[in-house]
Symmetry: C2
Subunit: 306 residues, 2 copies
């Protein structure tokens, strides 16, 4: 079956009523499935996971989401530990099932064109949809944040792919693209030592010679009173969450710090989880459809069971 | 939430039309959820997984299932490698969520009384519903099979808890009870050596000094042309599938035999799977509701994805 996933990251992780409005806007679209909303007050950001089998359905939902975000979010008054450049900051399209990356690239382009036209928002294309090598990574496009975006856009190197040559005054810009599934994975330290979290992030991230396909930063979560190593695993077949967990544990231990817990942001492919039952037990026919709790959730329409 | 699971084992694993009739009978009961049907032609047996939040709904479905089985299955003409004493052979009730074992015991008793009255079937109570210590294990009650049941019932030690003092001529008897979740787990050898499978089963099973809480037997699967170690893990917190897999692998290797694959019959609790992500990654909030494939299956009403 052809399924397209979109994982819009929205710059709102505190005001429940805004997220509720976004949820209602998405639920009003027939055929669109909102699988998950993960918000964090310190990041002041929410990650929404949407799937649909039809492109127009997904587009329609995303445009409604942008409308809510543009109306309700003002980046001039937004603070959070996570970098961001837009009210709807990043919109990746991910091919699942029989969907192809080329279809996701086309969808990102259509989405970018529509978004720019309707909301007067500059849109950058990234990932497999990028039109220049320096735009492959969305974190590079985003560097400097909303606060430095107007200045950055004066350089023709950073002209948007669609829309005006200046940021939207309150909603900034949107970075849209196509990519493979990734795992957003955070490790919380049993410590308030932000400097240690930053040093561990540098040890483990690919750009500083660490683990392949890992992006990482150290942040402080004031609401929880702890330091976090926040990561993106852009190819979990190369570096799965367990490898990050173990490497962070080693680096933390060298600094006399323990891991409190970890966290998967949004959803995670079964194959990214440790001890993949299919592999370890040679179960050729196993799927999560055989997990009792999963089936009960489905049958009874529960968010989680027990 | 209070959920009761029933896992009736029916002595039919070959005639798809009979299983389809059973499925339709169950689906006609409002509020009853048929989560899984696992059938095997060599075992000539099907394991059905049902859940409901209401006892009367579950009872109603099971009585319809028995009606189909009594009408369509004739044990005088039934052959298979799995021991059985009834057309509906075993009916365990399992408390999930906030349900209690005492509730399942009461349900097994009501089910037994109704079944005996309506179908003139002898019913034995086992597990937590057993009324005598020698009836705790259903495999002990079943020993000798349908063929020796009439003789066995002449002994007052084996008088049924409900129903007539002789087997039903074509449907035998029903063994009903209450138990904790178990895992039915089979390991297929890359070999046709039934004697080796039997020897490995004796090595690993608790009754012969093997792994705790493991029941095991060796069987030959003619349809697949291989020998199987077929097990029940009656407490997977003591011995999970991975421990059985590894022990079978060792014992098989000593005999120059490799494992082809393994198989979970029906559904399995998340916690029984190897590398439980919650434990390994210290994910306090993780559930299968975070597994992407699981959520897509649910949203799109698919049996499996991709």
């Amino acid at each position: 079956m052809r399924v397209i996933e979109a994982v819009p990251n929205v710059s709102e992780g505190r005001r429940g009523e805004v997220l509720e409005e976004a949820r209602r806007a998405l639920l009003s679209v027939e055929g669109l499935h909102l699988l998950d909303v993960h918000s964090d007050p310190d990041h002041n950001r929410a990650v929404l996971t949407l799937v649909a089998t039809r492109d127009d359905v997904l587009l329609s939902g995303l445009l409604r989401l942008i409308e809510v975000a543009v109306t309700r979010i003002d980046l001039r008054r937004h603070a959070g530990v996570h970098p961001r450049v837009g009210a709807v900051d990043v919109v990746p399209f991910v091919p699942l099932g029989t969907a192809t990356m080329a279809e996701c690239v086309a969808l990102a382009e259509t989405f970018g064109r529509e978004t720019a036209a309707r909301f007067d928002l500059p849109v950058y294309l990234y990932g497999h949809a990028a039109r220049a090598p320096h735009r492959f990574r969305h974190d590079v496009i985003r560097r400097g944040g909303f606060e430095k975006l107007a200045r950055k856009m004066e350089d023709s190197l950073w002209a948007p792919d669609f829309g005006p040559l200046r940021p939207h005054p309150t909603a900034g810009a949107v970075v849209a693209g196509a990519r493979s599934p990734l795992v957003a994975y955070n490790v919380n330290l049993a410590s308030i030592d932000l400097a240690a979290a930053g040093a561990i992030a540098r040890e483990i991230r690919e750009s500083d010679g660490g683990l392949p396909c890992v992006r990482a930063m150290g942040v402080f979560l004031a609401a929880r009173g702890l330091a976090q190593v926040s990561t993106n695993l852009v190819d979990y077949t190369r570096t799965p969450p367990l490898a990050v967990f173990e490497r962070v544990r080693e680096e933390a231990a060298r600094r006399g710090i323990e891991i409190l817990e970890s966290e998967i942001v949004g959803l995670v492919p079964q194959a990214a989880l440790p001890g993949n039952p299919s592999a370890v037990l040679r179960l050729p026919h196993f799927s999560s459809a055989q997990v009792l709790e999963c089936r009960i959730q489905e049958a009874l329409g529960l968010r989680r069971f027990p």
